[in-house]
Symmetry: C2
Subunit: 329 residues, 2 copies
C-alpha cells in the first residue's frame, strides 16, 4: 500500500501527502503520525482470509488487500466531497483542508494507485491471465460502487424510493467491494470459478447484512456504544432501510405527517419520538432484524459450500458473520 | 469505446447517460445525436498511427485507442468541475447539468471504463504479460496527469511560478498522455523497449510543443481562426508560458504594474495593450516560438530513430509534427 502511494510522490509530493493524510499516516503538514484511526480495514482482511480459506498463501494476496483498501479510500475521499462531510475518523476531511478541486485529484490518484497495487499480484506468482481477470472484475466492481453512489445521491431528491431500490443501491455502494474481496481472494488461491463465485455470494450477503445492521444501529443503537446521538439517522433524515420500510407500511396513513417532518432541515426531538412510535407501531425493527438474519444465514451457507474443510481462516470468517447478529457499535 | 461505456448502463443508466452525453453521443435527455463535436481525437489517432509505424496492425491497437480517449474524457469531466467551466465543445458541461457530485461520479466511472477497454487488448492477441505492462504504464501516466492538474491548480494561488515549473506541469497534465499513446501503440506492435521509448520521446516532444503553441495562439492567435477573442489568455489572466517568460524577463521592472493588473478579476483592453507591449519589449514571442521549434525538431529526430523505415503511418505522424510549425487554430 505504501509503495503504491509512493508512486504519487515523485511527480507531485502534495498528491502523495493528501493520500497519506486521508489514510491516517501523516498529519496535515505531512509529518508522520502513529496515533490516528486508520479505519477497521475489514475489506482487505476479508480478502486475505478468503485466500487462506481457499487454500492460498497470505503473501500472495497482499497486493489484492492493498488495492482494495486504496480503492475503498478513493471512494471515501470523493464521497466526503459529495456529502459535504466535515470530518472522518475524527479528523478534518481532505476537501475541507485542501478544497474540493484538490480532493477530487487526491481521490483520482488513489484510484490509479489502487490499480498499481493490484498489478503487483504478478510479482507474487499469480498468472498474468488471472491478474487480468481480477483487474477487469476490480473495475467492474468500481463501476457498481459508483453506480450505487449515483443512486444514493439521486434518492436524496426522490420521494418514491422503495426498500427494494435501497437494497439494490447498497448492493453496489457497500456490498460490491466485499463480494469482490472474497471472490478475488479465492481466485488468487486457485479456486475454481464456481468456488470463487460461492465466496462472492458469501461476501455479498455479508456486505448487505452489515449495511442493514448499520441502519438498525443508526436508529436503535445505544449512543454510548455507537459514539453517535440516539436515533441519529432520524435526526439527519437519512433514508435508511427502516424509514423506507415504514413508508411502505404506512401507505397513505401518516404519510402527510412524515412528509412535513422530512421537509424540515433537521428533525427535532418531538419529531424523532413520532417517527420512533410509528416504527414501533408498524413492526419495522423486527422486519429489519429478520432481514439481517436472512443475510447471516445466506453468508454461512455460501461459505460452508465455498470452503467445505474447517480451517482457522474459515473459523475467522464465520466469526465475522456472527458479528452480524451481535454487533452493537 | 461504446462497449466500455455500455458497462456503466446495466448498474446505472444515468451513469452511462452522463458519460455518453460528455462524449457527444447523446443529448441531455440521453437521446442519440449525430451532429455534436466529439473533439479532435488526436490522442487515440496517434496511438493507432504509432502502432502502424512500428509495424503493427490497426485492429490490435483499437482497445488502446478507446482506453486513451475514455481516460482523456474522464480528466476533462473532472477538470470542468475544478475550473468551473460552463461549456465544453459548445455544450453545457456535465457538472452544470447534473451537479458537481454526479459529475464526480461520471468521471470516476469513465476512468474505470477506460481500464475495461484497455484489458480488451488481450482479446486482440496481445500477450497477457504485455497487457499488464501497458496497464501499469496507463495508471502511472494517469498519476502524472493528476499531478500536473494538482500543480496547475496550485499555480493559480502562487506568484512565484517559473517557466521551468510550468514546463514540468504541462509535461504531466498535457504531454504524458501523448507520450503514453505513442509508446503503448509501439509496444503493442511488438517494438523493443528501446524503440518504444523513442516513440515515447516523440510523443512527449509533440505534446509539449502542442501546448506551448496553444499558449502562443491564446495571446497572438487571430480571433477569426481560433474562435476566441484576441489575446483571450491575457484577459482571463492565464499564467501561460509567455506570461511566465515575461515575469522572468522583467525581473523587478514593471512587476508592480503587472501585479496590479493581475490582482483584478479580469484584465481590460488598456491592460491587455500594456501586457502586449511588455511582451514585445522583452522579445517573449520569438523565445516561445523558438521553444516550439526545439520540440518540433526533437519530435522529428525521435520519430526517425523510432521508425527508420518510411511508411504511410510515419508520413502521417511527420505531418502531425509539421502542424506544430504552422497551426493557427
Amino acid at each position: 500500500m505504501r509503495a503504491a502511494v509512493d508512486a504519487l510522490a515523485e511527480p507531485q509530493p502534495a498528491l502523495a501527502g493528501m493520500g497519506r493524510y486521508h489514510l491516517g499516516w501523516v498529519d496535515e503538514s505531512f509529518a508522520p503520525v502513529d496515533n490516528v484511526d486508520q479505519g477497521k480495514r475489514m475489506r482487505p482482511e476479508l480478502a486475505l482470509l478468503c485466500c487462506q480459506a481457499a487454500g492460498g498463501r497470505l503473501e500472495q494476496a497482499a497486493p489484492l488487500a492493498a488495492a482494495i483498501e486504496l480503492l475503498h479510500n478513493f471512494t471515501l475521499v470523493h464521497d466526503d466531497i459529495q456529502d459535504r462531510s466535515p470530518t472522518r475518523r475524527h479528523r478534518a476531511t481532505v476537501w475541507t483542508l485542501w478544497g474540493e478541486s484538490q480532493a477530487i485529484n487526491a481521490g483520482d490518484a488513489l484510484f490509479a494507485a489502487a490499480h498499481l497495487a493490484l498489478y503487483e499480484l504478478r510479482g507474487r506468482g499469480v498468472d498474468a491471465e488471472r491478474v487480468l481477470e481480477i483487474a477487469a472484475a476490480f473495475d467492474r466492481m468500481t463501476i457498481e460502487i459508483v453506480a450505487g453512489q449515483t443512486a444514493d445521491l439521486d434518492f436524496e431528491r426522490r420521494a418514491d424510493v422503495t426498500p427494494d431500490d435501497y437494497l439494490t443501491m447498497i448492493a453496489g455502494k457497500t456490498a460490491a467491494i466485499v463480494r469482490f474481496a472474497a471472490r478475488a481472494g479465492a481466485t488468487i488461491a486457485g479456486a475454481s470459478p464456481e468456488a470463487a463465485e460461492r465466496f462472492g455470494e458469501f461476501g455479498l450477503a455479508l456486505g448487505l447484512g452489515f449495511q442493514v445492521q448499520d441502519d438498525l444501529l443508526g436508529i436503535w443503537g445505544s449512543a454510548s456504544e455507537t459514539g453517535k446521538a440516539e436515533a441519529d439517522d432520524i435526526r439527519r433524515k437519512k433514508k435508511s432501510l427502516p424509514i423506507l420500510l415504514l413508508r411502505q407500511r404506512t401507505g397513505g396513513d401518516n404519510s402527510a405527517a412524515l412528509d412535513r417532518l422530512y421537509a424540515q432541515d433537521e428533525i427535532d426531538s418531538s419529531g424523532i419520538e413520532l417517527v420512533l412510535a410509528l416504527l414501533a407501531k408498524h413492526d419495522v425493527r423486527p422486519a429489519a432484524e429478520a432481514l439481517v438474519r436472512t443475510y447471516h444465514d445466506q453468508a454461512v451457507s455460501a461459505l460452508l459450500v465455498a470452503a467445505p474443510e474447517a480451517s482457522p481462516a474459515r473459523a475467522a470468517l464465520l466469526n465475522r458473520i456472527e458479528l452480524l447478529a451481535s454487533r452493537s457499535k
